[in-house]
């Protein structure tokens, strides 16, 4: 009985970890699927029962790790509403594509939370991973409609935080971006019962 219970409890911290793990895989997937970096610099790994490709480039890895550890803190403290992965043209810094990962905060299991004196959720981890898998498959399928990025591109991640959020070291305020002639595609969303993650891709439509 007790085992059954522990199995289905997700703490706020755990939920944030799931979200950040998803962000890591999703961002790596985007970098690979959109062909931003050479395919040789990616390594295939098995997660959620599917093959995902992770960048082996030390600088990219470092960037994402730092970004996501900080984001995890913010997500736990409900400071972040959205992370945007933007793909820029290296030559003129034009934003060609924007992947929005919107975080929404949910109640979780209120009865259980009261009992345990902290916010907890009760969703089965298997179910969450299944949902994440569905989104990842959709991310992989986007290449069939997204325009071809035929220039040298780089990427950046913008964090949409609350106003009362402190700026840590090595972080700075950023300018809002805009994409001309933009098209939106909403992908599937998933929820950990504490956090809901919505994924939207915005891309520039060329005539």
């Amino acid at each position: 009985m007790s085992q059954q219970q522990t199995k289905n409890i997700i703490t706020l911290r755990g939920s944030a970890q799931i979200i950040c793990e998803y962000l890591k895989f999703a961002m790596n997937s985007v970098l690979f699927q959109r062909g931003l970096y050479p395919a040789e610099t990616f390594k295939a790994e098995q997660h959620y029962g599917i093959t995902l490709l992770l960048s082996e480039d030390a600088q990219i890895k470092n960037f994402l790790t730092n970004l996501l550890t900080q984001s995890e803190e913010w997500i736990v403290n409900k400071k972040v509403s959205k992370l945007s992965l933007i793909i820029l043209d290296v030559a003129n810094k034009e934003v060609l594509e924007c992947w929005d990962f919107k975080v929404e905060y949910e109640e979780g299991d209120t009865a259980l939370s009261k009992e345990r004196n902290e916010t907890v959720g009760n969703k089965d981890l298997k179910k969450i991973q299944q949902e994440i898998r569905d989104v990842m498959l959709q991310v992989a399928a986007t290449i069939s409609y997204l325009p071809f990025l035929d220039r040298r591109c780089s990427f950046d991640v913008l964090v949409h935080a609350k106003t009362d959020c402190d700026i840590p070291e090595q972080w700075a305020e950023a300018e809002p971006i805009s994409i001309t002639n933009a098209q939106n595609v909403q992908l599937k969303s998933f929820t950990t019962s504490l956090h809901k993650m919505e994924t939207v891709v915005t891309y520039k439509l060329f005539d």
Binding site: Q33, R34, G35, L36, Y37, P38, A39, A44, G49, I50, T51, D57, Q59, I60, N62, F63, L64, N66, Q70, S81, K82, V90, K102, Q130, R133, D134, L137, A140, A141, I143, S144, P147, F148, L149, D150, R152, C153, S154, F155, D156, V157, L158, V159, H160, A161, K162, T163, C165, I167, Q170, W171, A172, E173, A174, E175, P176, I177, S178, A182, T202
Partner: protein
């Protein structure tokens, strides 16, 4: 209020400079002056607006007069102003005065008679009033519009970027590097029409580059997930076109319509029974599997068991396995009343590829969840166990093209969709991925040749070609182009010579790409005979 005062002052200053204000005031100006005793610096709003009007009127007047002076058209604002018109009239060259449009009626008499000045004076005044009104009205409105527009733009940006709620936008300052200089996006192959430089090896045998025959396939569904073509061992080709199934006798060229579904139902898959029987299994969009006797053109039975369209079928003796959109595989024993002998929860998405191995030991299924599952046969039965032996997840897109090697047991070829573009060769006895080749194009279907150690694959964008690969090295042997839309399905003739390709361009093309060279076929036997003769000779000696 302050800015109004300021504007008024500016206007009045501007008009004071004008040359005409020194003359007597106009009638309307006098009128306004009578109404307002202190026109320019009144504090009350009403007065001020009036003052504004008058000030503007003055400036307008100035404008209109200057225009009168520059172009000789007679618009008189004041009777006292000396105009050149009078002079010109005296000269009697009225045609010069007139605008070109009017010069068609240049009778001098008429010109003198026409009360030109009066005629034009009134519209001019009212015109200037209109301008004034418009000026007055639009001045404030413009500001309003600008503000509204700015607000709207701001809102749009806000919606798109900051989620409408205020917040700060942060970035990590240690940026990731850009792609290395000179790096070319490898996805170019997915998007470009340019021909991929292929390493087509010269082979000794001749492969015709043009199709042997082209058949029309109107209304064939352009759906990657269906299997609409099958060629029976008795040389009859079954093709599903939208809601109908047609049988084409490849030997005689006869065409027969087998069935036509009612309403908006469509045929999603067809599959012939093994060994040259006349039974055809038909999967429909209404989640049923129908069994037809094609000799008598008669439906034998309808089998249910699915909750989604049946896009793939495979026979193993008397068992027909069906894969559907619900991700389940159902094994139907067509001899039994309770036909559904087993149901496998095989995939989480639609099943698009389903093939029994020639020895009947394994069933391979590919789905839209990018998985390729291998199911071992159940002990003493002709259907599979409900637990897969292997689940290969290396493909990065839906797995539709699946084919078992006809000469080597347990060797399987599978091809992935647009996001994957690879053909992988598997050994299901060991679970090893023997070879992987990037085809640079969506793989829609795969077949093995029975005569040569070769495979043929049908592709989509960009070239919509068929590619023949040498096994096991996976070198390109030939490329057959001609389809103008992706090659959805492939079928091999029973004699193993002809490959039929069904394209989304609504054509069926027959390629004689595995032709046997008659001289070569005989050669080995001839040389054997010669050898034995030689041996005999040696023996005799």
């Amino acid at each position: 209020m302050a800015q109004f005062n300021y504007l008024n002052e500016l206007n009045s200053l501007a008009t004071i400079d004008g040359p005409l204000t020194r003359g007597p005031l106009q009638r309307w100006a006098k009128k306004t002056n009578n109404e307002n005793h202190n026109p320019s610096f009144s504090a009350s709003f009403k007065n001020m607006s009036n003052a504004n009007i008058s000030a503007c009127n003055q400036s307008m007047q100035k404008l209109s007069i200057s225009s009168n002076q520059s172009c000789n058209n007679s618009v008189l604002t004041s009777s006292k102003t000396p105009t050149r018109n009078d002079i010109k009239k005296g000269k009697k060259t009225p045609s010069k005065n007139k605008s070109p449009g009017r010069s068609t009626t240049p009778t001098p008499n008429k010109a003198s008679k026409t009360p030109n000045k009066a005629d034009r004076f009134i519209p001019s005044r009212s015109n200037s009033n209109y301008d004034l009104c418009h000026y007055m009205m639009s001045r404030e409105e413009d500001k309003g519009e600008e503000v509204v527009a700015q607000k709207a733009a701001g809102e749009a940006i806000g919606r798109a970027l900051t989620d409408t709620e205020p917040g700060r936008l942060l970035q990590y300052t240690c940026k990731a590097p850009a792609a290395p200089e000179g790096y070319q996006n490898r996805l170019r192959v997915v998007y470009s029409q340019a021909k991929v430089p292929s390493s087509v090896k010269n082979t000794t045998r001749y492969i015709p580059q043009a199709p042997d025959r082209i058949l029309d396939a109107p209304d064939i569904l352009d759906d990657y997930y269906l299997n609409l073509v099958d060629w029976s061992a008795s040389n009859i080709l079954a093709v599903a076109l939208n809601n109908a199934v047609y049988l084409w006798n490849a030997a005689t060229g006869q065409i027969e319509q087998l069935l036509s579904l009612e309403g908006s139902e469509t045929v999603c898959s067809v599959s012939w029974v093994q060994g040259g029987g006349s039974h055809l299994a038909v999967g429909t969009s209404s989640a049923t599997v129908e069994l037809w006797d094609c000799e008598r053109i008669k439906r034998l039975r309808v089998m249910d068991g699915h909750s989604g369209r049946v896009g793939s079928l495979a026979w193993n003796l008397h068992v027909v396995s069906s894969g559907a959109r619900d991700g389940n595989i159902v094994h139907h024993d067509v001899r039994q009343r309770d036909h559904a002998v087993a149901t496998l929860h095989a995939h989480t998405h639609e099943i698009c590829g389903l093939k029994w191995s020639p020895d009947g030991r394994y069933l391979a299924s590919g789905g839209n969840d990018n998985l390729l599952n291998i199911w071992p046969i159940a002990q003493g039965q002709h259907y599979t166990q409900t637990q897969y032996l292997y689940s290969f997840n290396q493909h990065l897109a839906a797995v539709k093209g699946i084919a078992w090697c006809p000469w080597s047991s347990g060797i399987l070829a599978s091809g992935g969709g647009t996001a994957d573009r690879t053909i992988r060769i598997w050994n299901v006895n060991t679970g090893a991925n023997l070879n992987t080749v990037d085809t640079k194009s969506q793989v829609c279907s795969i077949l093995w040749s029975t005569h040569y150690k070769e495979l043929i694959s049908g592709h989509g964008y960009a070239n919509n070609q068929l590619v023949i690969w040498k096994y096991p090295l996976m070198n390109r042997v030939a490329e057959l182009t001609g389809h103008i839309a992706r090659v959805l399905h492939l079928a091999l003739s029973p004699d193993g010579v002809t490959v039929l390709s069904a394209g989304a361009d609504e054509t069926l093309r027959l390629w004689k790409c595995f032709m046997l060279d008659p001289s070569k076929k005989k050669e080995p036997t001839d040389s054997k005979a010669a050898k034995s003769l030689l041996n005999m000779n040696s023996l005799i000696r």
